[in-house]
């Protein structure tokens, strides 16, 4: 196998990227302007601005006043060039609107703030092109990437991009990049065995439809098939319904599922959003939850506590996920080799509520 495709640095500027630069831009007020206006040298202005010593308090005040009046603001580029202490991390998420990601983001922001790091956020919608584009952006704009990447090509590109990179959810792939692994395997097994122990046999899965057109490994589905097989429960195609990753997607998939297998007694959903949509639709169609059909989600979103009945789910500590990823990023920046980064694992935890 050839080594992972290496980012072609030339690609960065090609095509897409061409920021709209406002016109009529006022020319920048520089430190020199302030210096001339106050009759001192650049260095003295710098001392005033940065609150350093070796400057007369009166002079400082004079300079500060002038700077303010002139609308002077130090260039972050010039400053960053000489003081190499501003660290920016690029956080790549799939969908801000899925509550999963804000929780991860909360963890990342918190850990970043503790370190005084900046966080630039990018949203990909898990689109193939967007993921690839974002990696170019990261390459140019940040010191380290922390990303959810769905497509293998994107991961390969990130791996060859010469940029420190941490994967949120390395799940099931060859360890091309360091990152955090969410143990979907143990989670899925835990959840399904719980359902089985409660007497369920006709267990359907509502899968994320994105895997249909992708080579990305789907641990949850694989484990579902495996566990069903182990228990001698046969599942034909109708038992796995692809769903758009949203409440509405879950609802639609549930309808299809019921059309195929009216006798389903339990639904294992790819995640909470899908589970919630499915459960809602099932109830609307007259099924009692959990008596007629039980629902098991994945993620442990807090919204699961608000629906009726509250959703049983495999809880992931998403906030911690974000924090750990930043810690790993810190290791990378600290000079630790990619290979030396210890793999962090997040264990899903079954939270039994009323939907099962």
């Amino acid at each position: 196998m050839p080594p992972p495709a290496v980012r072609d640095i030339t690609k960065g500027r090609r095509g897409g990227y061409s920021p709209i630069v406002p016109t009529n831009r006022k020319p920048r007020v520089t430190i020199d302007h302030v210096a001339r206006a106050t009759g001192v040298s650049r260095q003295t202005v710098s001392r005033a601005i940065n609150n350093k010593t070796e400057i007369d308090p009166e002079t400082r005040q004079r300079i500060l006043d002038a700077a303010r009046a002139m609308g002077y603001r130090p260039s972050r580029f010039a400053r960053g060039l000489v003081r190499q202490d501003v660290i920016t991390i690029g956080l790549v998420i799939a969908d801000v609107l899925n509550p999963f990601f804000p929780e991860v983001t909360a963890g990342v922001l918190q850990a970043a703030e503790r370190r005084g790091w900046q966080v630039v956020v990018y949203n990909t919608g898990s689109e193939y092109r967007k993921e690839l584009e974002v990696i170019d952006m990261l390459f140019d704009q940040v010191d380290v990437g922390v990303a959810f990447l769905f497509h293998n090509d994107a991961i390969a590109k990130a791996a060859g991009a010469n940029l420190p990179f941490i994967l949120l959810d390395t799940g099931g792939r060859a360890p091309a990049l360091p990152g955090v692994r969410i143990d979907f395997e143990s989670g899925t097994r835990q959840g399904l065995e719980y359902l089985i122990s409660r007497g369920h046999r006709r267990i359907a899965m509502l899968d994320d439809e994105m895997y249909l057109s992708s080579e990305a490994p789907n641990t949850r589905r694989e484990l579902y098939l495996k566990v069903m097989d182990e228990r001698g429960i046969t599942v034909d195609a109708g038992w796995i319904q692809p769903a758009h990753n949203s409440v509405e997607g879950g609802a639609a998939a549930m309808e299809r599922l019921l059309a195929a297998h009216r006798d389903v007694t339990a639904v294992f959903a790819y995640n909470d959003m899908i589970a919630i949509g499915a459960q809602l639709r099932a109830r609307k169609l007259g099924l009692r939850v959990p008596e007629d059909c039980a629902f098991l989600g994945f993620d442990g979103l807090s919204v699961g506590e608000l629906v009726e009945p509250p959703l049983t789910t495999l809880h992931i500590d998403k906030r911690r996920l974000g924090e750990v990823a930043v810690e790993q990023a810190a290791l990378l920046l600290g000079g630790t080799d990619e290979g030396e980064i210890p793999e962090a694992v997040i264990e899903p935890q079954l939270i039994v509520r009323a939907s099962t």
Copy 2:
């Protein structure tokens, strides 16, 4: 009244801000290193990296290979210094975990992406100190601020900071800064008159407790009092319960409310999170919704559709809010004076669902 306090530029470096710079940092590979290694000049390397013309294809490839092998990555600072085309906006939100903000963020990210702008995100929790600190950060790190600011001092500081600044929700304040105004006034009136038209008289309000210890104007509360007064409905203190801005906060406030006024027939909540918590707790305590007590939220979060019964709410187009703010930011950067920025207004829209 004195003019708004002007940001003391010296404050930027004082105290808090001191990013943790990793140790063992590998020294940066610069364009010069690549140039020497390949026996060409910097300029030629630059041509190769940036995919420009006037370079032999073979030379380009040789340089690219070397650059990759050496782990070269152009400095965004050096580049930004000479090419003034990278624009970064600083998005300041109160709480990533409140679904309101991810929706706004989605709008901001989308509008920013269209322009090729970067978005740095900061979370304040609406804490007084954090808000002030964040403004210092913005001053150093971004080209324009787009922010939710709760505290008047923070707004004043932002106004004097010499940094283009857009307020998400300028609501009710002196127009110290341009931004978007969410018309809570008309929204509140709309919602309350709807409740009244449905025969409700004993209408309580679950207010955000943050206003207790703040000078920030509270349009929703003021309008509540005003409308009640107009209708000749008397409200004593017990009818307004402060709640922490969260589901749990809403639940706790609802309990206090019921202790004070068991005969309440409708609850007007500061926002959806509080409304949902209150409704959930009310049902748990045996009240029927809406028969015994109706609930009206504010925000139009999509989670409101998932609870039982679905929440009636005053919907705010949060995504558009974010987009509009970025458009205004673009105007500012384009040279438009603060005063010339047209005020954008977002009108809440009553969405009647089953909780009323």
